[in-house]
Subunit: 80 residues, 14 copies
């Protein structure tokens, strides 16, 4: 797209943007699904709120981790 | 797209736009799913409104965080 | 696309457009899902209208925030 | 696409088109989902028409706002 | 696509086409969803036809507005 | 795609095609959804055929209008 | 794709193909949905066959119209 | 893709292929949906086989017509 | 993709491949849906096997026809 | 992609690959749907196994035919 | 992508990759659907295991055949 | 993408990556569907665990085979 | 995109970004599905919380592993 | 994208990224589906936890294998 640019650091901006942009897509959607499930479980069985909330946080942390991998790679691409 | 441009900073505009643009897609949809679940839980079980609302906010904060990663990267791309 | 253009500011128009364009996709859909859930909850349980409406607004504000991140980035790309 | 064009203002047309084009996709679909939910709620519970209609308008206004962000950015790209 | 063209007004045709083309996608689908919901509500509860029809028109007007934003931008791109 | 062409009017053919092509996608699908809903309502509640048919035509007219916007823009791109 | 071609009429073939190709996608799918709905209504309520068939034809005509817009534009692109 | 080709008729092959290729996508899927509906109606209500079969053929003819538009345009692109 | 090729007949290979490739997508999926429906009808109502099988073959022939249009166009592109 | 290649036969490899690659997508999915339906019918009504199996093979042969069209075109592209 | 390469055999690698890559998508998914159906049938009706397994293998062989077409074409592209 | 590279073996890396990358998409998803079905069958009918497990392995082997075709082609592209 | 850049290390930024970006999409979504299932199981059967949580963690670890493969490859691309 | 780069090893970064990136998409999603099924089976039938867990691990290993094929190919592309 930028045929006249000769500074290789300019590639970093596109790389970092793609890493976090596409990388946030899956975990963002996945976390929404996870919370949606927790909500429906709470609506059906409110007295299990403790179990549901703690299991949701464990599961969401696993999905959040995927987003953090993408974040770390984006930071590495931009600064290292 | 801009073969004649030689200023590497111009790449920042595309990078920042892709980072927040695609990065907002997943969390935006995911938050919608999460709230949709909270709504259906409330409609089925309104007396658990406290539990549902607090768990929804915890879960939504996790999804929101993914959007904030993308926002932070976009700001870094544009200003740093 | 515009090989003959040498003004780097022209990149801003594409950047800002991508930021708000793609960035509005997720929150726009997500808000629709959230409101859809609120509607179905209201239809099933109209006497919980207060709880549903206030929780919907909290959740929708979180999704709206994602759109506002994209809006802020688009403004930054266009003016800063 | 237009290698021979040297007027940077020509980029505005593509930018504005992308901003409102892609930006209208999410809210347009989201509003449809929201109204679909309101319709189903009305069909199930017609005597709650007041609550449903007012909550639908609040929620739809939030989704409409996302389309308006895209519209504002498109106008800014085209005229400012 | 048209490397040999040097008239910047030629860009308008692509811009206007993208604005209304992609911009009609979301509202067109969304309106279909809204009417689908109204139909199902009518089939389930025909005596609420008045409420359903008036709420459908309010909601559809909000989705139609998104299409009109895209139409206005397309006209601006083509003529202004 | 056509690097050797220098007549800017050639761009009109692609523009008009994209306007009506992509622009027909949403309303075409949306109208199908709307009629699908009307059919299911008729199958469930045939004695409400009058209400269903008239509301379907109002809603379908709103979706048809989106297709007509795209048609008008395509005609403008091709002839004006 | 065809950098060496200098006859602007060659663009017509791609334009007409895109107009009818993409333009047939939405109505083709939409008509399938509409007929699917009519079939399910007939299977549930065969004695309403007259109402279902006539309403299906009205609705399908509206969706067919969208395909005809694309056909008309394709013919205009190819011959006018 | 074929920068060295200077015969504008070569564009016809791509144009005709896109017209029938993409144009067959929608009606092919739509006809499948229509027949799927007819099958389910037959399975639920076999004694209405006559009504179902005749209405299916009317509806399928409407969807088939969309494919024929694309076929006609492909023939025009290839031969006229 | 093949900038150095000057034989316009080479375009035929890509054209024929796209015509049958994309053109087989819709009917292939649609036929699967149609047969899926016939299977479910048979599973629910095995004594209507004759009616189901004959109607399935009529409907599948209509969808098969769409694939044959694409096949005919591919043959024309490759040989005529 | 291969600007330096001047042998038009090299185009055959891409053409044949696209023909069978994309052409196998629809029938592959469609056959899966068809068999899925047969399985569910068998699970619901095992004593109709003969009818289900023979109808499945008729329907699957129709979908298989679409894949064979793509196969034939790929062979023609590669060898003829 | 590789403008400086003049060996036409290099095209084979991309051709073979596309043939098997995209060609494995449909049958891979379709086989999953077929097995999913067999599993659900077994879960509902375990005593029909023999019929289900043999019909599943017949159907899966038909879907597998589509993958084998793509495999054969990939081998032909790479070696013949 | 790499206009200055003249070593045709460099194409192998992209070819092998596409073959296994896209080729793993279908079977990966399909296997997930197959196991999902087996899980649901087990949950509904745990005493049929032997039949379910053995049929699942037969079916999964068929889907795995599709992935192995892609793997074999990738190895051939990279080493042969 | 960066025709003037001659430092091959610049390719690493795009490679690492694509590896983690696209590679995070599948596991992110998959983990969301897995947690969603665990939530629904907890809501239906809260006294099996121990079994559900431990099986969820085993399954999620398998999906997480896929994300870690992509992370490892991204690190290798960026540093090795 | 990198027209000025002449080191063929730079292609390895893109190849390895595509292999693991796209290759992780299918198994990541598929594993999520598999675990989702196991969770729902556990929620419905917790006393079959042993059978469900062991069958889930067998099935997940098959899907994991597909991801490992992509990982192996990525390692081969990067190092061999």
């Amino acid at each position: 797209m930028f045929g006249g640019i000769t500074d290789p650091d300019a590639v970093r901006y596109i790389g970092g943007a793609l890493a976090i942009g596409i990388g946030a897509l899956g975990p963002g959607l996945g976390l929404g699904w996870a919370v949606n499930g927790a909500m429906q479980a709470l609506g059906r069985n409110p007295e299990a709120a403790g179990d549901i909330r703690s299991t949701m946080i464990i599961g969401a942390a696993l999905a959040e981790a995927v987003a953090i991998y993408a974040f770390v790679i984006a930071i590495i691409i931009l600064f290292v």
